[in-house]
C-alpha cells in the first residue's frame, strides 16, 4: 500500500463510540509518522473526520468513496 497503513480500523456500523472516536483511539496508539485507516458507513464522517484532522493539524492522506462506506487514511504528523 502506497501510504503504508499501520492499522486499519473497521468502524462500519459503529454508532458509539463512532468512527471518529475509533480513529482517535488508533492515532493515540500509533507513533509519529504512522498512517491509520478507518472504514466508516456513517455519512457524518465525511465532515467530522476532515474537520478533526484539520483542527489537530494531522494529514488526511486520502478519503476513498466505496459506495456503502468511506475509507479515510490519516497520518499522525506530530
Amino acid at each position: 500500500m502506497a501510504e503504508a497503513v499501520k492499522q486499519e480500523i473497521d468502524a462500519r456500523g459503529s454508532a458509539c463510540p463512532g468512527p471518529l472516536m475509533e480513529l482517535i483511539r488508533g492515532i493515540k496508539a500509533s507513533s509519529v509518522g504512522d498512517a491509520v485507516a478507518v472504514l466508516s458507513s456513517d455519512p457524518g464522517s465525511n465532515k467530522d473526520i476532515p474537520d478533526w484532522v484539520d483542527k489537530i493539524g494531522y494529514e488526511l492522506v486520502s478519503n476513498e468513496d466505496h459506495g456503502e462506506y468511506h475509507r479515510f487514511v490519516v497520518r499522525k504528523t506530530k
Binding site: 459503529s14 468512527p19 471518529l20 496508539a29 483542527k55
Partner: protein, 379 residues
C-alpha cells in the same frame, strides 16, 4: 476431557460461564467437558455504581457480590492472577508458577485505568471510574464550597461512553440541591467537534448543558495537567483552570494480554460477529477488552456472551460458529438526579434518544439492583 477456561470475573466472564454451564450441562455431568473461570478478585464489583458513589448515593457494600455466588456450581472458580497465555502450548500461566491447560479460551479481562499516561493527571486529577477514586471524589465534592469543576474526557476509548455527560448533569442538580450551584462553575470537554460521539445524543445534550450554564469545550484532546497551576491543557492549545478536575483517564487492556501477543494497538483483535480472536484457534474475547467499534458497556458484554457461548459450545461438539453478535447495545442515561433516558442500537440501526422521564430514571436504579440476576444468567 475438553477444557474451557474463561479469564475474568466481571459481567462478561460470569454471564458466559453461566450460559456455558447451561449449554454444556450434560457434557459437564458426564465429565466430557470442564468449564473453569479464573479471576484475580473474589468479588465482582458493579462498576455503574461508581457514578452514584461519587455523590454519596450508593454504598460500597451494595455494589459487590462474591463471584462464586454468581456462577453455576458446574463452573470451577479459581481466584488467581493470570500472568500469561501461552498460545503455542495452549495453557494459561498464573501467579505462583502454575499452568492451566485449555482447549478453548475466553478472554473477558476488561480494562485497567492508566491515569499516569497523561502527565500530571494522577497527581492533580480525580475520577469516578474506580471505587476508591469515586469515594475520594465524593469527599472533595462535599468540601467544595465554591470554585470550578471541569469534567474532561481524556481517554479514548473509555468505559460507558455516556457517563461523562451523566456525571455533569448529576453535578448540576446535586450542587443546586446544596445551594452551591451559583458559586461553582462547571465545564465539560470532549475530544471531537460536538458534546458526544452519537450525533443525536449530542443534539439533545448540548442545549441541556447550555440550559444548565455548563461551559462546553469541544475539540478538546487533553494532553497534560499543570499540577502547580491546576490547569488542564489540550493538544489544540486550550487551557482550562480547575479546582476539581473530574477526568475520564486513559484505559488499556490487561497487561498479560500484551505479554502474550494477544493485542493489536493495545486491544484484543476480535471478529465483530463470531467474537473469535483473529489469528487464533479456539480463543474468543468479549466485553471491554476487545478492539470492536462498540461501546465498552456491560450491556454489550451481556449480549455478546449469548452469541459467544453458543459458538464455544458448538466447538466443544466439533462444529463451527453458529451464532453472531449484531452489535446490540443498550445504555440508560441519567439526565440529572431524577430523570433518565436510554438509547438502543446495533450495527445496522443507529440510536435515537427518547425524551428523559422519571420512569426511566427509576428503571435505571431498579436495574442497578436487578443486574445481579443478569450476572447469574437469570435475566
Amino acid at each position: 476431557m475438553h477444557r474451557i477456561i474463561i479469564i475474568g470475573g466481571g459481567p462478561g466472564g460470569t454471564i458466559t460461564a453461566n450460559h456455558l454451564a447451561e449449554h454444556l450441562a450434560d457434557d459437564i455431568r458426564r465429565g466430557d467437558v470442564a468449564v473453569e473461570l479464573i479471576t484475580d478478585k473474589p468479588e465482582q464489583v458493579y462498576k455503574p455504581g461508581f457514578l452514584y458513589l461519587a455523590f454519596g448515593l450508593e454504598s460500597p457494600e451494595r455494589i459487590r457480590r462474591p463471584v462464586r455466588e454468581l456462577v453455576s456450581p458446574y463452573v470451577d472458580v479459581r481466584i488467581e492472577r493470570v500472568v500469561k497465555v501461552d498460545t503455542d502450548q495452549r495453557q494459561v500461566l498464573v501467579e505462583g508458577g502454575k499452568s492451566r491447560p485449555f482447549d478453548q479460551l475466553v478472554i473477558a479481562s476488561g480494562t485497567r485505568l492508566e491515569p499516569s499516561a497523561t502527565p500530571g493527571l494522577a497527581e492533580a486529577g480525580d475520577w469516578f471510574y474506580d471505587e476508591k477514586a469515586a469515594q475520594k471524589l465524593h469527599d472533595k465534592l462535599e468540601a467544595l464550597e465554591q470554585g470550578r469543576i471541569v469534567v474532561s474526557v481524556v481517554g479514548v476509548p473509555h468505559m460507558c461512553p455516556v457517563a461523562p455527560l451523566e456525571v455533569t448533569f448529576m453535578l448540576d442538580q446535586w450542587l443546586e440541591q446544596r445551594g452551591r450551584r451559583d458559586k461553582v462553575e462547571l465545564a465539560y470537554t470532549y475530544p471531537i467537534n460536538r458534546t458526544h460521539s452519537i450525533a443525536s445524543l449530542a443534539e439533545w445534550a448540548t442545549p441541556e448543558l447550555q440550559k444548565r450554564n455548563v461551559q462546553i469545550e469541544t475539540f478538546f484532546n487533553a494532553e497534560s495537567v499543570d499540577v502547580e497551576r491546576k490547569v488542564l491543557q489540550s493538544m489544540e492549545g486550550t487551557e482550562l483552570p480547575f479546582d476539581i478536575l473530574i477526568a475520564i483517564p486513559e484505559h488499556r487492556s490487561a497487561a498479560f494480554l500484551e505479554e502474550s501477543g494477544l493485542t493489536e494497538a493495545g486491544w484484543v483483535p476480535t471478529d465483530r460477529e463470531t467474537l473469535a480472536v483473529k489469528g487464533q484457534d479456539g480463543i474468543w474475547a468479549l466485553g471491554d477488552t476487545t478492539n470492536l467499534p462498540v461501546s465498552k458497556a456491560g450491556s454489550v458484554a451481556h449480549y455478546q456472551s449469548a452469541a459467544l457461548s453458543k459458538n464455544v459450545a458448538a466447538r466443544a461438539h466439533g462444529h463451527g460458529p453458529v451464532a453472531r453478535y449484531d452489535g446490540k447495545t443498550i445504555c440508560f442515561i441519567e439526565a440529572g438526579l431524577d430523570k433518565g433516558t436510554f438509547i438502543e442500537f446495533n450495527y445496522a440501526r443507529p440510536p435515537q434518544v427518547q425524551p428523559p422521564t422519571k420512569m426511566i430514571h427509576w428503571a435505571k436504579l431498579a436495574y442497578n439492583n436487578a443486574y445481579w440476576l443478569t450476572a447469574k444468567g437469570a435475566l
